[in-house]
Amino acid sequence: MRYVVTPFVDDTYPGKVAFLAIHLSDGYQSAFGNARRNSYYPGTMYIPDALADAGILHYVGFPGNPPVQWTNMVDARLAVPTDLTIEILPQRLDPAQWTYTADVCMEPTGTARSVGINLAWTVDDYPDTYPYRYRKTLRGGYGPEVVDLNPGECVQVDATFTFSAIEFERWPGVEIVAWAQTPASGWGEAYQAATLSMTLHADGFEAGDLSGWSEVVP
């Protein structure tokens, strides 16, 4: 993560990249991440290995290699038009459980097709017991749920995530990621992605939980 990932995540593409660091075989892996590795992307994978937009571009990317190897992929994808939009809507069920809705819409000029909708969450600067900063570590996720989209239509996909002390202790660093991709397994194409930082929901105000507020003005 070290050299290239931190400026890449923080500065280079603000709001333009949804980043998942999927740990494998090191004690920080997740069932959802393993499924991405073993089921959705069968075949040879390396560590480290970077897939842009569900595998339409690929780079066996050692962090010390020139950042242009990464930015070339992002630049190429940002230049490709898309006909989908995604908005993530949060709802707190209780202190540990949140339901997130991915509202996926196709523009009126879009092309009807089936897409696989995924939701996942990451924790930033975790794990934190190593010399390096590990960014946006995937902790879990849901999908792909395959839905049919037609021009001018929207579909909603819900996922309920249960958080633990790992998230509570790093709450501003928790980020929700949603994306739409080709529904079949194997390297394909992501059509759109979105992120939602839980920073805005740290005090419960946004979720309607005012228990932590000393005064409530109607």
Binding site: M1, V5, Y13, G15, K16, V17, A18, F19, L20, A21, I22, H23, L24, S25, D26, G27, Y28, R36, R37, M45, Y46, I47, P48, D49, A50, L51, A52, D53, A54, G61, W70, M73, V74, R77, L78, V80, P81, T82, D83, L84, T85, I86, E107, T109, P127, Y130, Y132, Y134, V177, W179, Q181, A190, Q192, A193, A194, T195
Partner: protein
Amino acid sequence: MRRHSACVGATLLAMAVIAVAAGDAVAADRVVLMEYFNATT
């Protein structure tokens, strides 16, 4: 003078129509998904 104003108005209207049409043609802003497979060791 009035004819000139009408001409300017028609030009602005045409530009507005072109802008709307261009807006329709511009797709949604893309956010790129980057999956980075790694390990701490």
